[in-house]
């Protein structure tokens, strides 16, 4: 098996080990810990008050705006990685292209900024 594939076997093995450790600890806890559920214990914790309704409802849209801007920038960053590694091979042409690409995104960021999408209030 080539070395390249072997490294990804390691990655998979470590993910498996992470899940395995958590499962093992949960098993140990299940064997050792008492289990005595009561009605009050199984309600959601709301500082001692009786919870009203569920939590699965509406929440502030700020998070949504930030998530949208984030998606744009995260995709941008993925494009930056190959360019960064090959910076010297691609030379000035690469820098100019990336600068144009970034400029378009920065205009977007500036627009969001002026629209007060980046301010919480």
């Amino acid at each position: 098996m080539p070395d390249y594939n072997l490294s990804y076997v390691y990655v998979l093995a470590f993910f498996g080990a992470g899940v395995g450790i958590v499962a093992m600890m949960m098993m140990m806890s299940r064997m050792l810990a008492p289990r005595n559920p009561t009605r009050e214990k199984l309600t959601a914790y709301e500082s001692g008050e009786e919870p009203i309704g569920q939590a699965w409802g509406r929440y502030p849209t700020h998070f949504y705006v930030f998530a949208l801007i984030f998606v744009v920038f995260d995709v941008e960053v993925i494009f930056l990685f190959p360019w960064a590694v090959l910076l010297r091979e691609l030379g000035w042409r690469g820098v100019i292209e990336i600068a144009l690409f970034l400029a378009i995104l920065v205009v977007g960021l500036y627009y969001a900024w002026r629209k007060r999408a980046l301010s919480w209030y």
Partner: protein
């Protein structure tokens, strides 16, 4: 047939090496989390002029062990209205990426789990997987505190991921490789990346504080308003898993800082000490560097107050992202304009670091002014 090390068949050696690497890293990570809890409590105590744990074992050394045993024996409560499978799987989703991050980190010359050629990208990807676990935990708990904590955490982590990855890209540009081993090899002696790219180090460290939900960015767990944030509904061992994952993340970020900017295992006598002692010294230097940054994390926690959520978002989007983008482009242009000499890059980066530090008070002044104007308008 070619023979592997210790006269073993290469195929068998591959399996043996994998098992050894797994066992070592699991022990190191779990012990690291346990000892970090103890160190954190002691450091906080000394900073606040008190003793910290002293009763269990000598100097209270066994306190964390006792806590772990206690958590193991605690009832594991799953409230009635939670989303069962998401609630149960969230700790694993947070924990296993943290463990898997250690695969690519070189501990000493030749001592690395797997030298992936996309090491940095891999680390960035695993860092963002934590967000999934935390948002899932917040949503699945069906608790209002948890939901707000999980969402805040999601918003914070995804925002700070952008400057964090941009800082990593700057280092990749300098070295011309994404492999962690290549990055360490590029910094022999005093040629540490931190002297060349100080601003990227600072922005990465700030973003790293936010990515690990540590002070002053620990809003998702702001106990005065959200009880325990996304952890509110978790108890017993499940809570402990989240806790360990969090401390593990702190050491992962510190290890990345030590590797990328401070030369990883490079240190005095590593190259001259021989094939057996050299790696041991390498591990020692690497651990010392990593724990130095873990201590800085703790020091910051004891010193700084918590941000408000709008300040947190503004710091990221209005200061860190423009700064890292500028830094990236300037570094790229200078690297191309002066091939063969890193001095212009270093000088420009130190100037940019100075400008960045000067920009912070200006930024605060403007924010305060707008806040006062709002208050006046409201009065």
């Amino acid at each position: 047939m070619p023979e592997g090390p210790f006269g073993l068949d290469p195929a068998i050696w591959a399996v043996v090496r994998l098992v050894i690497a797994l066992a070592l890293l699991v022990v190191v990570v779990l012990n690291g989390a346990l000892s970090q809890v103890y160190i954190e409590r002691k450091v906080q105590a000394f900073i606040q002029n008190r003793y910290g744990p002293i009763h269990t074992g000598p100097w209270g050394l066994l306190q964390t062990v006792a806590d772990a045993v206690k958590l193991l024996g605690k009832e594991d409560i799953r409230a009635r209205l939670t989303d069962r499978w998401f609630f149960l799987s969230a700790p694993g989703i947070v924990f296993s990426p943290m463990l898997a991050s250690w695969v690519v980190i070189p501990f000493a010359p030749g001592l690395v789990g797997a030298d992936l050629n996309i090491g940095l990208l891999y680390l960035a990807t695993l860092g963002s997987m934590t967000v999934l676990g935390i948002v899932i935990a917040g949503w699945a708990s069906n608790n209002k505190y948890s939901l707000i904590g999980g969402l805040r955490s999601g918003g914070q982590l995804i925002s700070y991921e952008v400057p964090q990855i941009l800082s990593l890209v700057t280092v990749a540009m300098l070295v011309g490789s994404l492999s962690m081993v290549d990055i360490v090899d590029a910094q022999p002696g005093w040629q540490l990346t931190v002297f060349i790219l100080p601003l990227a180090f600072l922005t990465y460290f700030i973003a790293g504080l936010a990515e690990t939900n540590r002070n002053p960015f620990d809003l998702p767990e702001a106990e005065s308003e959200l009880v325990a944030g996304f952890l509110t509904e978790y108890s017993g061992m499940r809570y402990a898993v989240f806790f360990m994952a969090e401390y593990g993340e702190v050491s992962v970020v510190s290890a990345i800082v030590a590797t990328l900017w401070f030369g990883g295992w490079h240190g005095p006598f590593v190259d001259t000490a021989g094939p057996l002692l050299g790696p041991v010294l390498g591990v020692l230097w690497f651990t010392l560097k990593t724990y130095a940054f873990v201590l800085v994390f703790m020091w910051i926690r004891a010193t700084l107050p918590r941000f408000r959520i709008d300040q947190l978002m503004a710091l990221c989007w209005k200061l860190l992202i423009p700064a890292t983008l500028t830094n990236l482009l300037v570094t790229a242009v200078l690297l191309l304009a002066f091939p063969g000499s890193l001095l212009p890059v270093a000088i420009a980066n130190w100037i940019m670091l100075g400008l960045f530090v000067l920009a912070i008070p200006l930024f605060q002044r403007r924010r305060l002014a707008s806040l006062r104007a709002r208050l006046r308008a409201a009065a």
